[in-house]
C-alpha cells in the first residue's frame, strides 16, 4: 500500500497549525479561541504521527496520545473558565477580559 509521501502529511499538519494560529489571533470569542487551539494541537499530533511512521518508531504515537490528554485537560479548564465568566455576566470577548482579578 503505497500512499503519498510523509512530506504531504507534514504539509497538511503545517497548514492546520497555521489555521489554528490564525483563529487564535483573529477571533475574540473565547470558545472559538479554544477550538482553534484544538486545531493547533491536532496539527502537532499529525506531525508526530507522520514522523513516527517515517522512522517506524512507536514513541511518536505515545506522545500524540499524551497531547490528546493535555488537550482534554485544557478544554476542561478553559470551559470551566468560560462558564465562570458567563455566570458573572461579563462579555465573552478576549479583548475585554484583560484583568485576571475576579
Amino acid at each position: 500500500m503505497q500512499g503519498p509521501d510523509i512530506a504531504w502529511y507534514l504539509a497538511v499538519a503545517a497548514f492546520l497549525f497555521a489555521t489554528g494560529a490564525l483563529g487564535v489571533l483573529l477571533r475574540r470569542s473565547p470558545l472559538i479561541v479554544l477550538l482553534s487551539l484544538e486545531i493547533m494541537l491536532n496539527g502537532g499530533n499529525l506531525a508526530l504521527i507522520a514522523f513516527s511512521r517515517l522512522h517506524g518508531e512507536s514513541s511518536g504515537q505515545i506522545f500524540a496520545l499524551a497531547v490528546m490528554a493535555v488537550a482534554a485537560a485544557e478544554v476542561v479548564v478553559g470551559l470551566g473558565l468560560i462558564v465562570a465568566i458567563a455566570q458573572r455576566k461579563l462579555d465573552l470577548d478576549v479583548d475585554k477580559l484583560s484583568f485576571l482579578r475576579g
Partner: protein, 190 residues
C-alpha cells in the same frame, strides 16, 4: 490499483481536514464551529489510519470527537447564541497582524522541515503488521514511557480538580453588599 485508492482517500481526507479547519475559524456561531471541528477530527482520524496509527485514530474518535466535543457542544448550548462578528467594520491593524503572524508561522514551519528533513521524507521505514496496534502502544507506553504515562495521569487529575474548583467558585454567594441587593437577598435600608 490499491495505490490509486489510497491516494483518493488521502486527498479527500486532507481536503476535508483543511476545509473544516478553515470553517472552524470562519463561522460566527460557535456551535457551527464546534460541529466543523468534529469533521476536522474525523478526517484527521482517517489520515492517522493511513499512517497505520490505528490505536491513535480510535482514541481520536472516542476521546476527542466523542467526549471532548460533546462537552464543548453542551457548554456552547448552555451559553446560548452569542455570535461574534469577526469581520464587522473592515480589517483592523490587529487582524492584519494576525494574518501576517499566521502566514509567518506557516512559512517558518515548512522551511524548517524542508531544510532539516527535506531529502529523507520519502524513505519510510519498514514496519511490521503490529505497528500502531493497541498491544504495541500499551507495551511501549508502560515500559519505555512510563514517566509520560504517570505525568499524563497527574495532568488529568489536576485538570479535574481545577474544573471542580472553578465550578464551585463561580457558584458561591455574591460577596459584596451591592451584589446581594442586586440578587434580592438583602434589602436596602429605607
Amino acid at each position: 490499483m490499491g495505490n490509486v485508492v489510497v491516494w483518493i482517500v488521502w486527498i479527500v481526507a486532507a481536503f476535508s481536514c483543511l476545509a473544516s479547519g478553515v470553517a472552524v475559524i470562519s463561522f460566527t456561531n460557535p456551535f457551527f464551529s464546534a460541529l466543523a471541528l468534529i469533521g476536522n477530527l474525523a478526517s484527521l482520524a482517517v489520515l492517522y489510519l493511513l499512517l497505520s496509527a490505528e490505536f491513535v485514530a480510535a482514541g481520536q474518535v472516542l476521546v476527542y470527537a466523542g467526549a471532548v466535543m460533546v462537552m464543548f457542544l453542551f457548554v456552547t448550548a448552555y451559553l446560548g447564541g452569542r455570535a461574534d462578528a469577526p469581520w464587522a467594520g473592515g480589517p483592523t491593524w490587529q487582524q492584519f497582524g494576525a494574518v501576517l503572524a499566521a502566514g509567518a508561522i506557516l512559512v517558518e514551519v515548512i522551511v524548517v522541515i524542508g531544510l532539516k528533513a527535506g531529502g529523507r521524507l520519502s524513505h519510510e521505514a519498514k514496519i511490521d503488521s503490529g505497528f500502531g496496534s493497541p498491544r504495541r502502544i500499551g507495551e511501549v507506553f508502560l515500559t519505555d514511557h512510563l514517566l509520560a504515562f504517570e505525568i499524563t495521569s497527574i495532568v488529568l487529575l489536576v485538570a479535574a480538580v481545577g474544573a471542580v474548583i472553578l465550578g464551585a467558585h463561580s457558584r458561591r454567594r455574591p460577596d459584596t453588599i451591592g451584589e446581594q441587593i442586586h440578587e434580592g437577598e438583602v434589602h436596602a435600608r429605607p
